[in-house]
Amino acid sequence: MSMPFYVSPEQQMKDKADYARKGIARGRSVVVLQYDDGILFVADNPSRALHKISEIYDRMAFAAVGKYNEFENLRQAGVRYADVNGYMYDRRDVTARGLANAYATTLGTVFTEMNKPYEVELVVAELGEDAASDQIYRLTFDGSVADEHGYVAMGGQADQVAAALQEHYEEGQPLARALRLGVRALERQDADRHLEAEQLEVAVLDRNRTHRLFRRLPAARIRALLEEAESAETQGEPDSGAGDTAAE
C-alpha cells in the first residue's frame, strides 16, 4: 500500500476547477437575454426530449449547460423546492433569490467536499413586473453567484458568444430581434456554424401571459420570428440595420 502524498488545498481546488471548466467547455452554449416583454432563453440543442431550459415556477425558469444528469438532478430539486415552498406558504413566496441561494450552497458544498465537482453552470431567472425588476442569477460549478442584467452566455464557447451579445444587445428589443441576436450569438461558437429552427431549444418567460408565464416556442414559431426579424431588417430601421449588417 502506497502512502497518499500531500496535495496543497490551493492545488486541489485548482485541479477541481480545471476539471469542471473542461467538462463545461465540451458542451454547446445557452444564452439568456431580456427583451421588451420578458426574458428569452435560447439553447443550441437539437434534442426535443432532453431539455436545457425548463420551467421552475409561475415566474421562474432554469437554464443549464454541462453534464446532463447533474443539472437535471438540480432542476428536479429546484422544482421540488419551489412546489414545496409554494404549497407551504403562498405562490408569491417562491423567489429566484431563494432558489439561487439554495443552488449556490449546494454547488459550493459539492465543490469543496466531494472528489468530483459538478460540471454545470446554471441560470435561474425570475420575471418581475417590468424589465428593471427582472432577476437573472448565474451560478457556476463552485457555487459562486452573479446577479446579471441584460444578457448571459454560458457553455462551450461562452466568451465568443458573450462578445457577440455585448456588441449588439440593446434594452427593450422586441422578441423577434432578441431571438435573432441570440441565434447569431450562438452561431459564433464555431466559424461556420449555422443554426436552423430545428436545432434550437427556445423558451420565454412572457409578461403578457397569466398564471404560468413560461412557454416553449415550437420550431414553426421560431422560424416565423426569425423571418420576421430578417424582413424588418431589410426594410429600413437604418440604425439597427447598419449595426447588424456590420456583424456579418
Binding site: E55, Q76, G78, V84, A102, R212
Partner: protein, 282 residues
C-alpha cells in the same frame, strides 16, 4: 423547512434524490404533516356539523367541452358561513375540479391536486392523461377516508377536456375514493338531487357553450329553490355562481359580468314561470 441531515441552506437530500414525479408521494416522505388526511382525530367525536360545508356543483358536457358551475354558499349547520365561497377551480390547463362537503379539507385537497398536476408536468415534461389526473384525485380522496368516517367528508367532481377524444368528460367520486365516469351531466352536493332532476330535462347533446352555461345556472337555481344549503343568484349583492368552461382552448372562468347577465335572464324567466322552462310531455 425540515432539513434532513445536510449543511444549512443546502437543498435537502430528499430534494436531490431520485424520486417519484408525484408531489403527494414526495411530500408523504419529506413532510407528511403538510398532507391532508394524515392528521389524527380524537376518536368517537363528530364535529362535522359545526364546520362549514360547501354545497352544490353541476357539470354538463357539450360538443367539444364541458361546463362546470357551483353556487357560492357555505353552511355550518343552519348558519350561512360564507356567501361568496368559490368551489370551482382550475385544476390545470385542460381540467376543472370542484368540491362539496367539508370546505376546509376540500380546499386543501384542491390546492394539493393543482400542485400535483403542475409538479408532474414540470418533472416529466408531459401532462398526465385525463384518466391519470382523475386517478390521482381518487387517491387523494381515499387518503381522507379516516376523516370522512368521522364526519369530515369531502367529495370532488372532476371534469376536463380529453384531447385524444376531442370531448369533455366528467368524473365523480365517493368518499372511499371510488372513481366513476359520468355521461352527459352530473351534480354533487346537498342540492344535487334537484339539480340532476333539472339537468335531466334540460340536457341535449347539441348544446352550445352558452346554452350549457345557462342550463347549469337553471339547475343551480332549482337546487337553491328546494335545498336550504344551496345559494341562489344574489342580485342585491351581485354574487353569482362560478361558471367555468373547459375546451380545446383550455380552462376559462366566465367573467362575473357575463355570468351576471345570464343569471339575470334566468331570474327574469322565473318571474314568469317560477318552476323554470317546461319540457314537452312527449
Amino acid at each position: 423547512m425540515t432539513s434532513q441531515g445536510s449543511a444549512p441552506g443546502r437543498l435537502p437530500g430528499a430534494f436531490m434524490s431520485q424520486g417519484p414525479p408525484s408531489f403527494t408521494e414526495f411530500l408523504s416522505s419529506y413532510s407528511p404533516g403538510l398532507l391532508p388526511g394524515t392528521r389524527e382525530l380524537p376518536a368517537g367525536v363528530s364535529a362535522g356539523d359545526q364546520i362549514p360545508h360547501g354545497t352544490t356543483i353541476v357539470a354538463i358536457t357539450f360538443p367539444g367541452g364541458v361546463v362546470m358551475a357551483g353556487d357560492r354558499r357555505a353552511t355550518a349547520g343552519n348558519v350561512i358561513a360564507q356567501r361568496d365561497i368559490e368551489k370551482v377551480y382550475r385544476a390545470d390547463e385542460y381540467s376543472a375540479v370542484a368540491i362539496a362537503g367539508t370546505a376546509g379539507i376540500g380546499l386543501e385537497v384542491v390546492r394539493l391536486f393543482q400542485v400535483e398536476l403542475e409538479h408532474y408536468e414540470k418533472m416529466e415534461g408531459r401532462t398526465l392523461s385525463l384518466e391519470g389526473k382523475a386517478n390521482r384525485l381518487a387517491t387523494m380522496v381515499r387518503g381522507n377516508l379516516g376523516m370522512a368516517l368521522q364526519g369530515l367528508v369531502v367529495v370532488p367532481l372532476f371534469a376536463g377536456y380529453d384531447e385524444d377524444r376531442d370531448k369533455g368528460r366528467i368524473f365523480s367520486y365517493d368518499p372511499a375514493g371510488g372513481r366513476y365516469e359520468e355521461h352527459d351531466f352530473y351534480s354533487i352536493g346537498s342540492g344535487s338531487v334537484f339539480a340532476k332532476g333539472a339537468l335531466k330535462k334540460l340536457f341535449r347533446a347539441d348544446l352550445a357553450e352558452e346554452d350549457a352555461a345557462i342550463a347549469s345556472l337553471q339547475a343551480l337555481y332549482d337546487a337553491a329553490d328546494d335545498d336550504s344549503a344551496t345559494g341562489g343568484p344574489d342580485l342585491a349583492r351581485r354574487i353569482f355562481p362560478v361558471v367555468a368552461v373547459v375546451t380545446s382552448d383550455g380552462y376559462r372562468r366566465l367573467p362575473d359580468e357575463e355570468v351576471g347577465g345570464l343569471a339575470e335572464r334566468v331570474v327574469e324567466g322565473r318571474m314568469q314561470s317560477p318552476g323554470g322552462p317546461s319540457a314537452p310531455l312527449l
